[in-house]
Amino acid sequence: MTHSSLDIAAVKAQFPLLQRELNGSPLVYLDSANTSQKPRTVIDAMTQFMEHSYAPINRSAYQLAAEATDQFEGARTKVRRFINARRDHEVVFTKNATESLNLVAYSWGRANLAAGDVVVLTEMEHHANIVPWHMLVQEKGIELRWVPLTDDGQLDLTDLSTLLDGAKAFSFTAMSNVLGTITPVQQLCAAAHAAGAIAIVDGCQYVPHNITDVQAWDADFLAFSSHKLCGPSGIGVLWGREELLDAMPPFLGGGNMIADVRFDGFTTAPLPAKFEAGTPPITEAVGLGAALDFLNGLGMANVRQHEMDVAAYAISTLTERFGDDIQLHGPCNVEVRGATFSFAFRGIHPHDLSQVLDQRNVCVRAGHHCAKPLMRRLGVNATARASFYVYNDTHDVDVLADALDSATDIFGF
């Protein structure tokens, strides 16, 4: 295996929060699948913008407003490059990936789906890519079909063409927030198109950790959040193919999304403003742009390589130390997984595990990870989840393993 060229100590040094000690010892933050920490450059970019350039965008003639608009739109260009989209105006700023997926279901779904139409999802989706479609089941009477999982937590594509037969949309995650599984996005997009369906990619776990290329994928929509990729919370992205976005009715109504408003109606603004009603998260867009600069500085290929290294180390360390006492969900092959691990440990409830790990400043999530259907599929009602990012190293894996041992002391299994 090759090893990443990143100096992780130097990367970690750029995150002020990770320098913090709690009760006299360092933090081991293993909850980045939930939300990521922020580097100094993002914090500074947002502060600098608020101290020097903050103003309304797209609606005032003075120089300061023009400066702010340039920075806001500059962030859109950075997003477009980061995901290799064709045009800036295919990038719509939303609140988060959840809102992006809701936008597609609400606007595209209500315009294009009728009773009996089929939308295909997978059994590893989180609630944001399930509930908006359930709402269309209730409202329109559409039908949902589910791509099943293999026992090692990958998509079972055996019957994919049957499932997609007659479907209008296939909406799937590029990386599971529970299992860490990376799905074959390009293959899934091709299968959707072969069946005449559009391909909607939930990238909120994938985009922060991998090179993203919506053109190579031949995807139709991509949703992701800023806060999982070192950027601020409060802003997300929906990228969509221009012709699809153009044909869709607007989502939220209000200022900025209109070309004209009269007493008898309105006309919408062109893309992307059509889907950006009201004052957007301006400072957050600048922060998102800075986060993408930060990740580009590291190189996404290096980020991915580093996380494969950490994932491989985590799998070998945890299984060598704990054997059958630990059950890691999801695939063991790091080629098809990220560094997000849900696990069961010695029969100790995840909530108790996370409490004990917290005593060692090890931050993991315990619960259903907003993926209750998947939890039922796995036959559990909760898991503990350790998720690693570019600021975590193999030492963090060792601290996690030591902390797991201390849980055994308390629960005495």
Binding site: G367, H368, N381
Partner: protein
């Protein structure tokens, strides 16, 4: 940070390892299901109530050591008790968990209501995110009483 010994008292771990009154009761027993949407815990409470007395209680579901032991202790504490005494106990327990009354005021401890083993759960208050674990069974008990 408070120590884990405040949370995981031996009596709590004992109820977690050997939960009392596990099982189900057949209808016409009342049955309520409680969910903790944050962590996915689920608790089933079954009650037989005759002439205002809880004659039998069973607990099912899955959860962490705190929610399971609290449910186990709850089942022991309410079995054979009149419903009005049980309601007073729920109120006393919620007061111990720093949960305010319906009007948002703190619940003053009623010295006439004895907590017994339940006092072991007092340490949960020092871990605010776990209060919901400890109270899940009690809220589910109230729901089951409403059905009865």
């Amino acid at each position: 940070m408070p120590g884990l010994e405040d949370l995981y008292r031996e009596i709590i771990l004992d109820h977690h390892r050997n939960p009392r009154n596990r099982g189900e009761l057949a209808p016409p027993a009342s049955h309520a299901v409680g969910h903790n949407p944050l962590c996915g815990d689920e608790i089933d409470v079954y009650l037989d109530v005759t002439d205002g007395i809880i004659t039998d209680v069973k607990v099912g579901g899955q959860g962490c050591s705190i929610s399971q032991s609290s449910a186990s202790m709850m089942s022991q504490a309410v079995k054979g008790k009149p419903v009005d005494e049980v309601r007073a106990l729920v109120r006393r327990f919620k007061g111990m968990m720093s949960i305010p009354d319906e009007d948002g005021n703190p619940i003053e401890p009623d010295p006439a209501v004895k907590l017994g083993d339940l006092e072991a759960l007092q340490g949960v208050v020092k871990f605010p995110v776990r209060i919901k674990c400890a109270t899940l069974a009690w809220n589910t008990l109230l729901e089951a009483l409403e059905q009865g």
